[in-house]
């Protein structure tokens, strides 16, 4: 009986550590962590997805390793140890990306190295992986990775459509053919512009701030609306 209850509890915990960071405790939109890469690499959807995948890899690996070493690392040197572990994985990712996806490496540039000081990666190591089991840390890494990836992808879609007027695929992921989906901007075969409603401001840093601010405002507005509804319901209930 006790065993069953324990297992139930463990399953709930696994589910929580995987699902919570995807929406409820989204690292970017709710926790406001990792804003630096989120603003910098969201000029195109492909760059954002690439960054998201590499981020997920680094976070999951460092989470698992930190969690498996949590009883060995003395408390005096936790932060330096974590930094070395994270920096190692980032360097591995850098070398592998440079070797196998040079276009992605060139696009992300210094922001790949800056994963080392990403608040989410170090934060999850300190706050979660150092206190939880390996499996939970693994799930937490994947969950946070997915949460971060969809968040920056959303920003990238908005910025790419508004900024360039098209969605371009195949420029960074060269294994798929080059496709340009015209949305706000249309060009004919000889590159003559037919119509162009794009606002190039959204490709500049200004656009990054505005889009991020607008998304956070929408999230806050939804939150306010929900709170209002809950209050209203409570009032109804009281009657």
């Amino acid at each position: 009986m006790k065993d069953l209850a324990y297992r139930e509890e463990a399953r709930a915990r696994h589910k929580e550590s995987f699902l919570a960071p995807i929406i409820k405790a989204n690292p970017l939109f709710v926790m406001l962590l990792g804003t630096c890469p989120a603003l910098a690499v969201t000029k195109s959807l492909e760059a954002a997805i690439g960054m998201g995948i590499l981020f997920t890899f680094v976070l999951t690996c460092s989470n698992v390793l930190v969690s498996s070493l949590r009883k060995i690392i003395p408390s005096e040197v936790t932060t330096p140890s974590y930094i070395v572990i994270i920096a190692t994985f980032v360097t591995l990712v850098k070398l592998l990306t440079n070797a196998f996806m040079p276009e992605l490496y060139a696009t992300l540039g210094v922001f790949l190295s800056l994963l080392v000081v990403n608040c989410i990666v170090l934060g999850r190591s300190e706050a979660f992986a150092s206190k939880n089991t390996i499996f939970d840390s693994f799930l937490d890494g994947i969950g946070n990775g997915i949460g971060f990836t969809w968040a920056i992808s959303l920003m990238a879609i908005i910025r790419e459509i508004l900024g360039t007027g098209m969605m371009t695929f195949g420029k960074i992921f060269t294994f798929i053919p080059l496709i340009k989906l015209p949305i706000l901007k249309m060009v004919d075969a000889s590159n003559e512009i037919i119509y162009d409603y794009s606002i190039s401001l959204f490709q500049t840093p200004v656009g990054a701030f505005l889009v991020f601010g607008a998304i956070l405002a929408v999230i806050a507005a939804i939150g306010n609306l929900k709170a209002k509804k809950a209050k209203y319901k409570q009032k109804e209930g009281n009657k």
């Binding site: 804003t35 630096c36 070395v84 190295s113 000081v117 990403n118 500049t204 840093p205 601010g213």
Partner: protein, 195 residues
Amino acid sequence: MSYLVAFLLAIISSTLIDNVVLSRFYGICSFIGVGNKTKSSIGMGLAVTFVTVFATIICWPIYNFLLIPAEIPYMDTVVFILVIASLVQIVGYFIKKKSPSLYKTLGIYLPLITTNCAVLGVVQGNTDSGLDFGMSVANALGTSIGFFIVIFLFACIRERLEGYKVPKALKGVPIALFVAGLMAMAFLGLQGVAG
């Protein structure tokens, strides 16, 4: 163009024209987190300037005279972050001993600096771009001064904003991001200066 002119120009360009916070988003975490009080923004700005310049002075020789001759330039990120982390520790210890009053203003920001992208970003950017020592220091100085100026201005604006009525959904971080966007727009106008 003499070296001194190039040096000064590099400082000015990385301070104003290519401001790190507003164009490369370095240190945006602390920008949003700390940038709502003028006093703490000054502390943070000073601490970042201090650490960035020192980290550049230490990391540049390590990269060019140690890692490159040993043919392990790919170890750069690991070495840089270790240097920065220990530098932050040492600087904190040193300031605490020598000037307790300075420690009071800087102390609490020092641990935050290890994870500030500006420091690693500048050091890594300098070596990636293959800049020489003088230019690296100029870039570090200009970048951190730029960080200082922007975070201070931002804090001033946010302090003023507190007294105004803002739509409920925009309260707090969203309006701060819009402010940052408008600041970035203003700084875009300075790009013509480089001419």
